[in-house]
Amino acid sequence: MLDQLTVTGLSSLLARGETSSREITQTFLQRIEQIEPLIHAFISWDAADALRQADHADKLRATGASQADKPLLGIPIALKDIIAVRGHPLTCGSRILANFVSPYDSTVAEKLKTAGAVLFGRLNLDEFAMGSSTENSAFGPTRNPWALDRVPGGSSGGAAAAVAAGECPAALGSDTGGSIRQPAAFCGVVGLKPTYGRVSRYGLVAYASSLDQIGPITATVTDAALLLEVISGYDPRDSTSVQEPVPRYLDALREDVKGIRIGLPREYMTGILHPEVRKAIVNAMTVLEQLGAHLVEVSLPHTEYAIATYYLIAPAEASSNLARYDGVRYGLRVDGPDPVAMYSATRGAGFGPEVKRRIMLGTYALSSGYYEAYYLRAQKVRTLIRQDFLRAFELVDAMLTPVSPTPPFMLGEKSGNPLDMYLSDIFTLSCNLAGICGISVPCGFTTAPRLPIGIQFLGRPFGEETILRIAYAYEQATSWHKERPIVPCVGPDISQPGIPGTKLA
């Protein structure tokens, strides 16, 4: 069962010559054919192109290339459809870019290619990464592989669902307020949001530039470390990337967390926490204590302002970032008698309701007369939130928190109530506002139905090694990550729920 294997597992099979990149790629493509109609994790994929890349990887291996210099040689990796790959669609889950094909590579795509990866498939997402359920995609929602009537989380719901369902061994998502960690938790996989500036944003279509960060979604902590190492590093094309050396993250993985101090933010264990989530988190604390970690209560006093702060800053930046989709140069155009009418018609038809809501929120927050009261004030609170974390990190090496207050919710359950949806990001938003790093790892299941629960470890700026080490130790001490959802296989001819992925040539 190649599709049950991790990146690391597939790599050793390839290294031993027991399989080929073509065989691996074919297996995943087959898996996609079988279960995509149920999951709809992908917006599109190009089988022929994927196999071409796989053959190229096999050829390289035959001529002497190996994992040593190309750590992802021949491994298929799928990307959230908001990360540019030359010649691949770049829809951002939006009607306005439904037919847009990227003429250039993002920096992470370049790095993955250099590492030998087979880049295939465009993963579903909430439109322009705005959402927590992947229901805001113009191409239809993705379903949670553990319970098809439930959401996979979002906005990187396609990525988390695809990895969980064995449609790809690993994926890249993007995280602006929890968009990697929350879907990872909902789908029972690992998701890492790197420190702001750790990974280049060049080629990541911007939602909120000061918060966005690309990161891996994988089946194991080891794979997350491996991918992070490949995609990290300063990029002269991204002024906000940081000239900080990239450590060997795989070397940071140790089963031992003796003496590591882990903070428990008092403000996070609130009443809104679902009882089964609370129970899983408390159990995880016990495991870590048994492994030798010291748990210390810490305080992040400005936590209650995080959601308000986020929903001023992110929409403000989004309102400006999304101004370029106007029908003039690329993407959808709905004609009108003059440019302004054309803009209105194009954007009216091209954007979904959540995107429009955030553009309006952001436009309002930046308007003359409101700027000081909203955007500027939010920036000041953001500084206070960051200071909360930096102060707490003087006492502890990392923090432990829930990822989401609830297990995966039902499709449609919150889509009519945006505020309720926004509130579900309470534990993940602050990490982006503070610019620090965080990782989500499976830590249990609810009883009936059996739904995954995730735990989050937050680290200092550029403290990825520490949270990877804690996550790894916890993972090795538990067996949650070994469980995979059972997705009933269907033939491609069976009538398909939702809007199926567009299969290209």
Partner: protein, 478 residues
């Protein structure tokens, strides 16, 4: 212009100049005029999804240098902001600019105007990006994005300008400074300089400002002058006829020579400025600013004043050396070797420059040393050669590079000031030309010049002309 004597204009200018960089502001595309449409473009300057800007350091350097040339303070920290508005020529529908933390603030420009030195204060100079160029065809419109992302320096003046002519003089002074400093080529034909004007009028002697009216769309300095002349008259007539002016933006039509209202204050844009999260604040080190400071050149007016003061040159000569900096620099090398810089300036301007033009030679091709001109001036001043011979010497030294004294010696051009020798030439001439001699004696004064010419001819130009005149007259009258 009688109506304007009761009113005075208050004018402030916003001048945009394209910086002379090799590449654009945020990407590596060429900053080049005249390429076929949309050939100097890339994902970044087209604003494709996912791209990011990276600031061009040379543009930041030129901005700070311009600030220093305009006597500005350079704040420790500058920042880029987004100015949000929709327009088809703007790829991102926001323009990256410096809003409340510009690269240069509080400076001034001094310039000559109506016989005095005027000062216009500079509010700020900030860096931003240019937009594309819309083109309208019969049925459709197009946008050329070659210009999109070209670094643009906006220089905002205080409302210190009081007339259309003064605005014109200010713009020319500003242009000279920017060209001098290598900041911009300021080629108007290529759209490298653009200008918006704010103008109001008020009864002369009052201090309260009238309604500020902005005029756009002037594409030449003379256009600015004409637009201001028109607009000041218009505003004065409105006020004189009891009307009221409201804050508004007007468009200059160069064809018809009038301004037309575009929008009033209540329809003013809300640009929703906010700091661009894609760019870090620019905090130059002291060393960096000092390195830029080393490139600060002498400004045109200061240079002119120094040439007039130090070399006692008339304004016209000094201006020549301001307009042609290399020639002026060359002159300074010459001037160091002569007690008569004005004499040297004549040779440099009238002879050397003319010969250079004639022969297509550049300063680097000049074969004689700069001190040779000093030597030549001395030969004339000391009466060793006549100014006529000096012309011959100069032509020779320009051709061969030989020193003036060597040429004088070789050609035997030393001026004959020995009275006996000159008398001999005069006697010869008088004897050979009885007709003119008789004419002179009959009262035709002009005949003396003919005889002088004959003496000079006999002496092969070497006789001291003053002495020749003196001796001839004495002999003929005596």
């Amino acid at each position: 212009m009688s109506s304007t004597t009761e009113y005075e204009a208050v004018i402030g200018l916003e001048t945009h100049v394209q910086l002379r960089t090799r590449s654009k502001m945020w990407c590596g595309c060429a900053n080049e005029f005249g390429a076929p449409p949309n050939t100097n473009v890339c994902p970044v300057c087209l604003g494709l999804p996912g791209v990011l800007p990276v600031a061009n350091e040379e543009a930041l350097r030129l901005t700070v240098l311009a600030g220093l040339l305009l006597n500005c303070e350079i704040p420790a920290r500058a920042r880029f902001d987004r100015k949000n508005y929709f327009y088809p020529d703007m790829p991102k529908n926001y323009q990256i600019t410096q809003y409340d933390q510009p690269s240069a603030v509080r400076g001034w420009v001094d310039f000559e105007f109506e016989g005095a030195i005027q000062r216009v204060r500079i509010t700020r100079a900030h860096l931003e990006e240019d937009v594309g160029k819309s083109m309208h065809f019969a049925q459709t419109s197009g946008v050329d994005f070659n210009r999109a992302g070209v670094p643009l320096l906006e220089i905002v003046s205080e409302p210190d300008i009081t007339s259309a002519d003064m605005a014109y003089a200010y713009l020319n002074a500003l242009k000279d400074i920017l060209v001098f400093g290598g900041i911009s080529d300021c080629d108007m034909e290529k759209g490298m300089v653009r200008c918006d004007v704010n103008v109001s009028v008020r009864p002369r002697g009052t201090s309260q400002l009238g309604a500020k009216i902005e005029i756009k769309n002037m594409n030449s300095f003379s256009g600015v002058r004409r637009a201001l002349e028109y607009e000041i008259q218009r505003q004065v007539s409105v006020l004189k006829s009891g009307g009221q002016l409201v804050q508004s933006t007007r468009r200059w039509d160069d064809q018809t020579g009038v301004t037309e209202e575009m929008r009033t204050k209540e329809y003013a844009h809300d640009y929703r400025y906010f700091p661009d999260p894609d760019l870090m604040a620019f905090v130059p080190s002291e060393q960096w600013v000092n390195d830029v400071r080393k490139c600060v050149v002498e400004l045109p007016l200061a240079r002119k004043q120094r040439f007039m003061r130090d070399y006692k040159l008339p304004a016209g000569d000094a201006q020549v050396f301001v307009d042609d900096v290399p020639l002026g620099d060359y002159f300074e090398l010459v001037a160091r070797h002569t007690p008569n810089p004005k004499g040297a300036a004549n040779w440099v301007i009238n002879n050397m420059r003319a010969l250079m033009v004639q022969t297509g030679k550049a300063l680097k091709d000049i074969r004689f040393k700069p001190e040779a001109i000093g030597e030549l001036v001395a030969l004339v001043d000391q009466g060793k050669i006549s100014s006529k011979s000096a012309q011959e010497v100069f032509a020779e030294m320009f051709l061969t590079g030989e020193s003036p004294s060597a040429i004088v010696d070789r050609k035997g051009l030393v001026q004959v000031s020995d009275t006996a020798a000159v008398e001999a030439f005069c006697d010869q001439a008088i004897a050979a030309n009885p007709g003119p001699v008789a004419d002179f004696k009959a009262g035709k004064a002009a005949a003396l010049n003919f005889l002088k010419g004959q003496v000079m001819k006999l002496s092969r130009g070497r006789a001291n002309p003053a002495l020749v005149g003196e001796i001839l007259e004495k002999k003929l009258k005596g």
